[in-house]
């Protein structure tokens, strides 16, 4: 325990490039062979060769919302109020002036005070006709539905579902003996950075290229778990795995085809994660996901 405490202290000192002092501090407890080990090993790996963790990269691939959410009741009220105030403060547009003139002309024609110019103008298309035609065109325009077929069928492999919410990619992978629903993860290989490992994991999980955009080189979240005892006890094996998550946006809406590394995949909304992800894992994952009401 004391060793670990010192290691934590020295971590702060190393930030100020104080390597000789750390060596002196630790020399009280570590043997000569360990000291040599320390000096030969990389600059700030203060975790001495006692605890070995596997470094894993995971991908947090999301489809961002495509359409805006429906308005809340208060938002609707404020919108209508704002529109009324806007109307009061505005000046009349050319179209409105034209409507008024047409109305006056109609009145004059009814009363019988019309002159020749009025009769000429009356034969042209009036502003009211134009407005009616425009309104009709808008009502007839085939807008795409906000609730798609995928929503109705609850097809969890489709990207067309829940267009006003985030969709997170979750896969079923075999870890040890059991299959779990997790974010796609894989171990980092030699010569890779963590982000490159994440990109490789995504490429290997699916057939064909997944059009994605990774957001930066830094991980967005962290989760660690220990392996079962019988694996830990074996020589040369690590204690457990440290998973570093990397955020990415999926840029195309073409459906994915599952690769050989995974058993199954699904695109899930925030409220569906409870039933798929393990409890502790889900808590760590929701730490780096944007909240949705």
């Amino acid at each position: 325990e004391t060793e670990i405490k010192l290691a934590n202290n020295t971590n702060k000192k190393i930030r100020g490039m104080a390597l000789p002092r750390t060596c002196i501090n630790l020399s009280r407890l570590t043997s000569t062979s360990d000291k040599i080990c320390m000096r030969l090993s990389s600059f700030a790996s203060t975790q001495t060769a006692k605890e070995k963790w596997d470094l894993l990269s995971a991908v947090c691939l999301e489809r961002k919302p495509v359409i805006a959410r429906n308005l809340l009741p208060i938002e609707k009220e404020v919108l209508s109020m704002a529109q009324k105030m806007e109307y009061r403060l505005s000046l009349k547009s050319d179209h409105e002036i034209q409507l008024e003139k047409d109305r006056e002309r109609q009145e004059r024609i009814k009363q019988g005070d019309a002159d020749d110019s009025d009769m000429d103008q009356a034969s042209l298309n009036s502003a009211q006709d134009f407005e009616d035609a425009s309104v009709e065109e808008l009502s007839k325009f085939p807008f795409a539905d906000r609730i798609t077929e995928a929503d109705k069928e609850k097809d969890q492999k489709s990207l067309d579902r829940m267009l006003d919410r985030h969709l997170l990619l979750v896969v079923r992978q075999k870890l040890g003996t059991s299959s779990v629903w997790i974010l796609p993860q894989g171990q980092r290989q030699e010569g890779e950075t963590m982000r490159q490992a994440a990109e490789r994991v995504l490429a290997e999980s699916f057939d064909g290229k997944v059009q994605s955009r990774f957001l930066g080189n830094a991980p967005c979240g962290f989760y660690k778990y220990k392996y079962p005892k019988h694996i830990r006890e074996q020589d040369g094996n690590s204690i457990g795995a440290k998973v570093f998550f990397f955020k990415a946006h999926v840029t195309s809406d073409s459906p994915l085809k599952k690769g050989s590394c995974i058993e199954d995949f699904a695109w899930l909304g925030r409220d569906e994660l409870d039933s798929y992800l393990p409890e502790k894992y889900r808590k760590s994952v929701t730490e780096f996901l944007i909240d949705e009401d």
């Binding site: 971590n11 990389s42 600059f43 700030a44 790996s45 203060t46 975790q47 963790w53 470094l55 961002k64 919302p65 495509v66 359409i67 805006a68 809340l72 208060i74 009220e77 404020v78 109020m81 105030m85 009061r88 505005s90 000046l91 009349k92 002036i97 085939p142 807008f143 795409a144 539905d145 906000r146 798609t148 267009l163 006003d164 950075t193 963590m194 982000r195 990774f214 957001l215 930066g216 080189n217 830094a218 991980p219 967005c220 979240g221 962290f222 660690k224 440290k242 570093f244 998550f245 730490e287 780096f288 944007i290 909240d291």
Partner: protein
């Protein structure tokens, strides 16, 4: 004594009893006294203007007018290029149309005004809570990232340095915001596609 006004054109002389003696001298001095030089002109005296034939003058004027009119018509025939939107100005005629365009509306009743004020208060509360939630979410995301980077640093300094490198491919970042309805699959616009050909000065 002689007082001579040498500047007047009509030379008036006042002289005394030496009148007869002065007459001879007078005849000699007069032109000398009246002699003056003008400033150096460096010019010729004006030439005499010859009178032009009025019909020729008229003909010349007509030709000039015709040439000017022809050039005006040519310029008018060419399509005037449209001004870029950034350079458009509010037409001055609107300034004089304001009285015509003002709306004559009944003033808002007290009840409606009160309800509007209450609604705005409720709205400000709602927006404040929304802002607080957004900030809390951002803080949570940053904390999660900070923890992850800390753990990575504990594991390996090299990987940490790689993780903290700037990703220049991210900038400039462009995102198309969410719309009211989703895209219509395979939509063929009846007016055709809009291709922006406006010139950019950068």
């Amino acid at each position: 004594m002689i007082l001579v006004n040498i500047f007047s054109s009509r030379r008036t002389f006042i002289f005394t009893s030496f009148k007869e003696n002065m007459i001879g001298i007078r005849r000699f001095i007069q032109p000398l006294l009246g002699f003056h030089t003008s400033a150096v002109q460096c010019a010729e005296p004006m030439k005499k203007k010859k009178k032009m034939d009025p019909s020729i003058i008229r003909h010349r004027e007509q030709r000039k007018m015709k040439r000017i009119e022809r050039s005006i018509r040519k310029l008018e025939r060419v399509e005037r290029p449209l001004k870029p939107l950034d350079e458009t100005q509010i037409p001055l005629s609107l300034k004089y149309e304001i009285p015509i365009r003002q709306r004559q509306l009944q003033p808002i009743s007290q009840d409606i005004e009160l309800s509007q004020r209450e609604l705005l208060v409720a709205w400000s509360h709602h927006k404040q809570k929304e802002a607080e939630r957004d900030l809390a979410c951002i803080r949570k995301l940053l904390d999660a990232q900070g923890k992850a980077l800390k753990e990575l640093k504990l594991e390996s300094e090299e990987l940490y340095i790689e993780a903290t490198q700037l990703d220049l491919s991210l900038l400039p970042y462009k995102a198309v915001g969410p719309t009211r309805t989703p895209q219509i699959k395979g939509y063929d616009p009846p007016d055709g596609d809009y291709i922006d050909v406006s010139r950019k000065w950068e």
